[in-house]
Symmetry: C2
Subunit: 155 residues, 2 copies
């Protein structure tokens, strides 16, 4: 089943984005398909045909995406085995995981600051800058996500 050119382009772009973020490109391609596919739910075989990729890699990458909370399995009426679809709220979860990384960095810089506590302030400044940024993000970013959800709910 060959895809129109623009759809392939879109799918590949999502793949490239995932690669930029340090994940396998194939995982991004799967997500790309599941973002625009006409039945939103697709089987492993469907995906492997659309992407012209092996079922094994689709199977593994789909599992990765499930772990990341971006897609989910759905039961199918048709007695074919299992279907995957984009998980509502998946991007929010994705952002929350990213936020977790920032929070971790906040902790690390805090520990770092205690290491150079006795040093003169101008030496602590650069680490303080990092600390302040990441603690600020940890504090303020959740409100941003909430504001978005509120906005979406009201539309």
């Amino acid at each position: 089943m060959s895809q129109p050119f623009e759809e392939m382009h879109f799918i590949e772009d999502i793949g490239l984005f995932f690669e930029q973020m340090g994940m396998p490109r194939m995982a991004g391609r799967i997500l790309g398909v599941l973002l625009i596919s006409d039945p939103p739910a697709q089987s492993i075989t469907d995906l492997s045909e659309k992407l012209k990729a092996s079922k094994s890699s689709i199977s593994i990458m789909a599992r990765l995406l499930v772990e990341n909370g971006l897609i989910e399995r759905v039961a199918s009426r048709v007695p074919r085995r299992d279907y995957y679809r984009f998980k509502p709220g998946g991007w929010i979860l994705y952002m929350e995981q990213w936020l977790g990384l920032m929070a971790a960095l906040h902790q690390i810089t805090e520990r770092g600051l205690s290491l150079i506590d006795e040093k003169p302030p101008e030496l602590k400044e650069r680490l303080q800058e990092a600390h302040d940024l990441f603690s600020f993000i940890e504090e303020e970013f959740p409100a941003l996500l909430e504001a978005l959800q509120k906005k979406r709910a009201s539309e």
Copy 2:
């Protein structure tokens, strides 16, 4: 020149964070050193001794960090060649680059939406969700960074 245990731990944690973000761990370690080193500016040789790593990889990774805007070269009075130090505002730049990725994803999802424009709304919903999130971040995140800088300036 061996480092106290806690400092090594801090440095390695920054390295691991970088790895999580899809960058070479050694680049993170260099940044880790430059965040707590007592003369903030360190030469390639200094860094390679502290990290017990080859000068070649330090040289290459330092260049990578310069390209990323996280560190910068500074002239040295001592006639040794060049020194690197953490770049003030480097983290802000780092975040702005991250924001650029989100903005790119906004564009991609917008193109994606035009591909499925004629489909029923419930099919467009999942991509709309992605689009709204990333366009929201593109809009609101810069204000967050500005708020941080304002807050820091006033302290």
